[in-house]
């Protein structure tokens, strides 16, 4: 080889290589890194050391370093000295890279690119997406009349460089349909089309866009792809796949888009809304984003294994949705392509590893941490109750002196009178006083008579108090024993040790409470350290909040809260699991088997279907009659004694108007508690007070912890912004800090994809080395910086895109352009895409006039073929179809069972809702055809479009056909189309002259047709409407 000469060298080295190719400048990020990444990094990338490979090509320093004896992978300008070039061009197959066994091969153009790159000086660049976007100036274009806004300058520059022209603008009706579908998910009505087409004002289109952006439908439309990214669903996934309730989070998303929450806040609140100072209910609900992952409730799982999976899912989803990074690839080893080490994965993991959660989720309903999340309507009702309570409270407050005087007089009267006792009576479900008790022997007790238990006797109160694990309740009783109290006090459970049910027993003086669905892996057990002394009466109370967690159990001894030790906290199935029974007697002094029966005295058992307040519990535990308290000088009475006197007085002895106010107040309190029990809950993020330790997991396995790691960010990305705490909140702040090179780019790219079908970066989910080089890098950066500049204004960004000349082009394509650019990456035409699954259905319902528009609420169950759940789900689950209007809600409200997704949605390529999906896909299958032709959803919609043709379309057939065609497609039929429609109608009129067939055909769906219409006519129009609903154009955005 001769000495290096820029041009001569190429000729000599490459032989017949075209000289011009070498002169075309090679750009590392655009041309070289994709090749190195895809073909070399698996071995020579960030994880090379793990494979024992010394040569690395993922960093400039390593690639140009001396590997020993002067060997270097890349020597700028020197093909012969560059081992990279020598190996990829080696003649001997054994030496040639990539090796055969890798199943990778370089194409001749790729080899030439790498050679040219070396020749041109082997310039290196940091990976493009890790460099913060800089706002590029608008480029020069020839056709300066075309651009409408910044977007168009970039698009046109590229088109001109490629020698292409933009397409003419789309027709007005087409454009309005396109933008209505894109911004609201529904087509325009004929009236809206008329208004727009006939609006001569220069800002007619802008006005239409503003109208659409202001519609509540906008939020529903924008939420849909975000639900896919957030793997939102109505069930837990995995084997049992029971129901969960995350719709309050879903509604938060809709609302966030509708009120145009800036994207940085949208991000911040979803990642760490709970950690914001003074976090509001809404901000906490927002964090449901990272609780949407699947959750396993299978009996035999090792809970720790799934606790890890949940955190991994959070990291993967957050990285994909906000950063466009495949961080999850570094779970088991260093990332093969991107500069992320396995340790860095676990550093990010650590931000999400601090949730007080269990690896095994609740079989039914939401799993903690969760939050009652009243809807606006429920909040209003609660406020109203509180307002009414305040009226009574005010009355009592305002007449305080009078009440005190009256109470003092009453106190004097009862000092010497008959014994007066007070206990709460509101919410009482069972009381056993043992006074006059005949079921067990009695003896004088703490209050009146007490039950005597000798280790054999027990009191069977019958099959009552069937509380389940989600119910709240309070158990209380007086006990006394000569030796350390031992045995069952109160229980409802199978009469054997560790039987199913709940119970309160004393374990050699320690108070032990359990809720057991299945010993030993499905139970709550707590026990006090404090011992109940022998030889005297003591009062025990247990409250349970229905949280299904040990933290929901509180124990009180003699009216004081007694700390408990959690012995078991794995409860996840109700007592009535899978619809089973929970029938046992409520026992006093027994339960858990004959050996556990109580020895001693039990008195005044009280069970409440609510949680008593600590003061109420203390008041009960005072035990002594109020007469004694009344005798004490006022200043010697304790707070509880004062309260107890007051409560009794208000309940029994005050003037009638105050007694009534008190009674109302108590009733309203119960009513409010009852209302609060109906609040939907939502799973949210929360932080443990003491942070979890995070360890790197060797090979990603839950049971192979390696070195301990602290929360942190990948070194290749910017550090936390100044002042941000190093926790999940700081991570969220970092995501939306302007220094973050990815967040804005990834967001604008995903929005772009929704309009054009493909992102500017096609790999919406991967902005790493294996991701695709942007089709318009400057446009991407311009949009990203514009997004940030406008304060992350989401609606403004949508408006920018849909008002661009690029977006407004006609989608017609020529065969030549199709060959040149099949995917429309150059944007020489407008988008033409099949509608997403949700829109296919929603549009049909809308055209039919069936769509029931209502924002938010619990998910609904529209038509679905019978038996789909029965065939493969657990036996106790069946699909119970909703009734109108819920039968006709927009598809984002459709109940999504993860293991058996709604077939219509699946057929039309909806995301799977099992894991984060940000890329849109479209297929074209016969199942879609069958679905549109034969699903009751579309047949009923066709029936109603047909009915509208007859009732609204005028008298003559052509007018009706034109009406129906336009109703669905947004345009009148052309002559040839009208003729086909006419022929089709005539055929069906003939076909349905068989009236029995017509009637049968019209039986599809729940909603009755207009009875005044003739079956033959209606069926014929319905069939033509079905034809229109099946058109390619109908299910396509043009």
């Amino acid at each position: 080889m001769l000495g290096f000469h820029p041009k001569l060298g190429i000729v000599l080295a490459a032989g017949c290589l075209n000289l011009l190719a070498a002169e075309k400048p090679v750009a590392f990020n655009r041309d070289v890194r994709p090749i190195l990444s895809d073909k070399c990094f698996v071995c020579h990338g960030p994880d090379a050391a793990a494979k024992g490979v010394p040569m690395r090509l993922d960093s400039e320093a390593a690639a140009k370093a001396d590997l020993g004896g002067g060997r270097r992978a890349v020597v700028p300008g020197d093909l012969d000295a560059s081992h990279l070039v020598r190996r990829i061009t080696a003649d001997r197959p054994a030496l040639r890279m990539p090796p055969v066994a890798s199943n990778l091969a370089l194409t001749p153009p790729e080899i030439e690119t790498l050679r040219n790159w070396v020749i041109q000086g082997a310039k290196w660049e940091k990976h493009w997406s890790f460099i913060p976007p800089a706002r590029p100036p608008l480029p020069e274009v020839k056709n300066r009349a075309w651009p409408r806004n910044g977007i168009d300058w970039f698009v046109l520059e590229r088109l001109e460089a490629e020698g292409l022209q933009p397409s003419p603008a789309a027709g007005r009706a087409t454009l309005l349909r396109r933008v209505s579908l894109d911004l609201t998910g529904l087509p325009p009505s004929p009236a809206e089309i008329d208004a727009f087409v006939n609006d001569p004002s220069p800002d007619a289109y802008e006005k239409a866009v503003d109208r659409l952006l202001a519609s509540p439908r906008y939020g529903e439309r924008m939420a849909t792809p975000w639900l896919n990214a957030a793997r939102y669903a109505d069930t837990n996934g995995y084997q049992y796949d029971g129901e969960r309730y995350m719709w309050r989070w879903r509604d938060w998303v809709i609302d966030a888009f509708n009120r145009n929450q800036p994207f940085n806040r949208f991000t911040l609140e979803q990642i760490a809304g709970d950690m914001l100072p003074g976090a509001t209910l809404d901000q906490k609900i927002a964090t449901g984003f990272n609780r949407n992952h699947r959750a396993n409730t299978e009996d035999g799982i090792v809970a720790e294994e799934y606790a890890v999976e949940y955190v991994v899912d959070r990291v993967e989803t957050t990285a994909t949705a906000f950063l466009g990074l495949t961080l999850g690839c570094a779970r088991c080893h260093n990332h093969k392509y991107d500069p992320f080490t396995q340790k860095e994965f676990y550093q990010v993991y650590s931000y999400f590893n601090n949730v007080p959660e269990l690896g095994r989720a609740m079989k039914y309903g939401n799993s903690p941490p969760l939050l009652p999340a009243p809807t606006a309507d429920q909040q209003t009702r609660r406020d109203e109750l509180e307002r009414r309570m305040e009226v009574h409270q005010k009355l009592l407050r305002d007449h305080q002196p009078e009440l005190e005087r009256a109470q003092a007089a009453w106190e004097r009267r009862i000092r010497e009178g008959e014994a007066v006792h007070w206990v709460p009576s509101s919410g009482l479900d069972l009381a056993v006083s043992f006074d006059g008790e005949g079921r067990v022997p009695v003896a004088p007790g703490r209050i009146g008579m007490a039950g005597v238990f000798d280790g054999n006797a027990e009191l069977d109160a019958g099959d009552v108090l069937g509380y389940d694990i989600q119910d709240r309740f309070t158990l209380s009783a007086w006990v006394r024993s000569d030796s350390a109290p031992h045995g069952s006090v109160l229980s409802k459970m199978a009469d054997k040790p560790d039987g199913k049910g709940y119970g309160l027993y004393l374990n050699h003086g320690k108070v032990h409470v359990h809720l057991t669905s299945n010993y030993v892996n499905d139970a709550i057990r707590v026990e006090t350290e404090e011992v109940v002394p022998a030889g005297s009466w003591h009062h025990l109370t247990v409250t349970y909040t229905g949280s299904r967690m040990a933290e929901g159990v509180a124990v009180y001894i003699d009216g004081r809260a007694a700390p408990v030790k959690v012995l078991m906290d794995t409860l996840y199935r109700p007592f009535r699991n899978a619809g089973g029974e929970f029938k046992h007697p409520f026992r006093v002094g027994g339960g858990a088997g004959p050996e556990r029966r109580f020895r001693g005295w039990i008195d005044d058992v009280r069970v409440y279907g609510r949680i008593l307040q600590p003061e109420e519990i203390s008041a009960i535990a005072l035990g002594d009659p109020l007469n004694a308290v009344a005798r004490k000088p006022a200043e010697q009475r304790s707070d509880i004694e004062r309260l107890k006197l007051r409560w009794y007085f208000l309940e029994h002895a005050a003037a009638p108007e105050y007694r009534e106010a008190w009674k109302q107040l108590v009733e309203l309190t119960r009513e409010k508690e009852k209302l609060e029990r109906t609040f939907p809950t939502v799973m949210v993020m929360a932080e443990r007070p003491v942070p979890n330790e995070t360890h790197l997991l060797v090979r990603g396995a839950y049971d192979k912890p390696g070195e301990k790691v602290e929360p942190g960010l990948p070194a290749v990305l910017p550090p936390l912004p100044a002042g941000a705490p190093n926790n999940r909140l700081g991570f969220a702040m970092w995501l939306v800090d302007p220094s973050n090179p990815l967040t804005a780019r990834v967001a604008v790219n995903r929005f772009w994809q929704a309009y054009f079908g493909v992102g500017l970066v096609k790999t919406t989910e991967d902005f790493g080395a294996q991701g695709e080089w942007p089709s318009h890098p400057e446009l991407l950066d311009w949009l990203a910086t514009e997004f940030v500049r406008t304060g992350w204004d989401v609606k403004a960004l949508q408006k920018l895109i849909v008002t661009s000349a690029t977006y407004r082009q006609s989608s017609r394509v020529t065969p030549e352009l199709l060959r040149r650019d099949p995917e429309n990456r150059l944007l020489a035409r407008g988008p033409r895409q099949r509608l997403p699954a949700e829109m296919v259905r929603d549009q049909a319902l809308y055209s039919a006039g069936l769509l029931a528009e209502k924002l938010g609420g619990p998910s609904v169950k529209p038509y679905q073929p019978d038996g789909l759940w029965k065939e493969i789900a657990m036996q106790d689950m069946d699909y119970v179809q909703s009734k109108a209007p819920d039968l006709y809600r927009r598809s984002l409200y459709t109940f999504w069972k993860r293991t058996i997704a709604p077939p219509l949605m699946v057929n039309f390529d909806a995301a799977n809702h099992e894991s984060c999906v940000v890329r849109e896909t479209r297929t074209n299958t016969p199942l879609q055809a069958l679905n549109l032709m034969n699903d009751v959803t579309f047949l009923e919609a066709a029936r109603f479009v047909g009915q509208r043709m007859v009732t609204e379309g005028g008298q003559d057939r052509d007018a009706r056909l034109r009406y129906g065609f336009r109703l669905v497609t947004g345009r009148p039929p052309a002559a040839a189309e009208a003729e086909t429609l006419r022929n089709a109608l005539n055929f069906h009129l003939d076909y349905f002259s068989n009236e029995a067939a017509a009637k049968t055909y019209l039986e599809q769906g729940d909603s009755p047709s207009d009875p005044s219409l003739h079956p033959r006519e209606l069926a014929s129009y319905a069939a033509v409407a079905s034809l229109i609903l099946n058109l390619d154009e109908t299910i396509t955005k043009e």
């Binding site: 058996i900 390529d909 055809a929 069906h988 396509t1036 043009e1038």
Partner: protein
């Protein structure tokens, strides 16, 4: 898809529609479709080498059939009966949450007798009298093992090569890689036995396409009026009307194509035609009334009951005859935690005869040579009893460390018994076969190099076998 080819096709078809009378379009259209446009076309470069088999019938036994009571004879175990499983065998390996707290682990030998069968002398349980009759056709693997210990992840692993949701199932990979041989039927069909009590749930993801386009997902065939969802025309609307409907639809779509030139439109026209063909081909396929009496005799007493495993086995053969690439049956009810002897008898009564019949039937028709039949579940069961061990009863928990499967047909060597476990059927002592190896081997028989059937997603070139898998040569003919 080559747009020029598309264009030529459309010109041809427009010509055709202008002349053809209603009703003839369907049959003719399929032959007009160029290979690249067919929904059934596979990925380029496949198969990688000459295949031994063209299709697979996979009889998935969901719940974890007990290898100890069916395939893995342990004569020395009777001496250990009731004794605790030695720690030296268990080696502290993890147990499921259902028996992890059990205080003792009584060894429970099978109460069923084993005998040698065929020229090969394969040792099989008395529970499998019919399979025993075809012992020389099957290759028995006694050394399967898996990573997962619970149903959902274990089934997902068997089906997709990964424990967590999101990856394509084996059938989807093959539909993507090899396409279909029949233009009127999907290339991947799934059937779930109905009427089996006390079963665990399945998930659509078991036949899902994961990150592959959804057209590669398994199509579930159901027993009843609509074997495929939405297949039947609505009542009151017959085939004549539908044909006319499709002709009008095609005409309107053609007009649209003329204007917009989007090739998706011509694909859609073709898909509607395939839908129409499915409307006749699927009911024809699902209609067993023309099967001779001998078929029902061969497949056993359940064969006439739609939705049973036996009836589905007949359907599987009919699908195979029609060139469907991957047929998968799911039969549940093997999850015998508490009453294994009773339950397994019932399971075998439902499945043994149809399995053997399927092998014989395929053989008689000369199709066993190019059809692979696979039988097996997601894991095995423990040698120790879950719950009390009595004379007549025991239960067995999930056991991932060894289990048994069998294969038969195209490319598989009959009569082989592969792999060995220890005296307790607890650990594998010879020739372990993991799930990836099984996948690699099945793919190999189909002419597919498992390391080269890839799909790029999230920057990675994904494979069914992830980064693992070895073809198990001793199983090959």
């Amino acid at each position: 898809m080559d747009p020029l080819q598309e264009r030529r096709l459309l010109l041809t078809r427009r010509h055709f529609f202008s002349r053809a009378s209603t009703g003839l379009g369907a049959a003719a259209l399929s032959s007009l479709l160029p290979a690249g446009l067919r929904a059934g076309a596979g990925a380029s470069g496949l198969p990688h080498f000459a295949p031994k088999a063209k299709r697979v019938i996979y009889l998935f036994q969901h719940g974890g059939p007990s290898q100890l009571d069916l395939f893995d004879y342990k004569p020395n175990l009777h001496a250990q009966r009731g004794k605790d499983l030695p720690d030296s065998v268990r080696m502290g390996q993890r147990l499921t949450g259902m028996t992890a707290f059990q205080t003792n682990f009584p060894t429970a030998p099978s109460i069923f007798r084993f005998r040698q069968h065929g020229k090969s002398g394969m040792c099989l349980s008395e529970l499998l009298p019919h399979l025993s009759g075809v012992a020389d056709e099957i290759a028995l693997i006694r050394s399967m093992h898996t990573e997962a210990i619970n149903h959902d992840p274990a089934v997902t692993f068997l089906q997709t090569g990964f424990q967590l949701a999101g990856r394509p199932s084996m059938g989807s990979w093959l539909a993507y890689g090899l396409g279909s041989e029949n233009q009127d039927l999907p290339s991947f069909v799934v059937m779930v036995s109905q009427g089996v009590g006390g079963t665990q749930a399945l998930a659509d993801r078991s036949w899902g396409s994961g990150f592959l386009p959804s057209k590669y997902q398994g199509v579930k065939f159901r027993s009843g009026a609509d074997p495929v969802l939405y297949l039947s025309n609505p009542p009151g609307y017959d085939e004549t009307a539908r044909r006319r409907f499709l002709d009008d639809l095609a005409r309107l779509n053609e007009l649209k194509f003329k204007e917009s030139q989007d090739p998706e439109i011509s694909t859609r026209i073709a898909q509607y035609e395939m839908a129409f063909r499915m409307q006749s081909s699927v009911p024809e396929l699902a209609d067993l009334s023309k099967e001779p009496e001998s078929t029902f005799e061969m497949y056993g007493p359940d064969a006439r009951k739609p939705g049973t495993f036996a009836a589905n086995c007949i359907l599987a053969r009919r699908l195979a005859e029609r060139g469907v690439r991957f047929v998968q049956l799911f039969h549940r009810g093997w999850d015998a935690h508490g009453r294994l002897p009773k339950e397994i008898r019932g399971q075998c009564e439902q499945t043994d005869q149809p399995c053997a019949a399927l092998i014989n039937d395929l053989k008689q028709r000369g199709m066993l040579d190019d059809t692979i039949v696979v039988w097996g579940g997601e894991f095995g069961r423990t040698v120790y009893s879950q719950g009390e061990l009595t004379e007549e009863n025991y239960g067995r928990d999930h056991h991932p460390r060894c289990f048994a499967m069998w294969l038969a047909g195209g490319g598989i060597r009959g009569g082989v018994t592969h792999g060995e476990t220890d005296d307790f059927s607890y650990n594998i002592v010879k020739d372990p076969v993991d799930v990836h190896d099984l996948h690699a081997t099945i793919l190999h028989c189909l002419g597919v190099d498992h390391t080269r059937l890839t799909y790029k997603y999230q920057g990675r070139h994904f494979r069914l076998t992830d980064v693992h898998g070895k073809v198990v040569k001793p199983l090959l003919a």
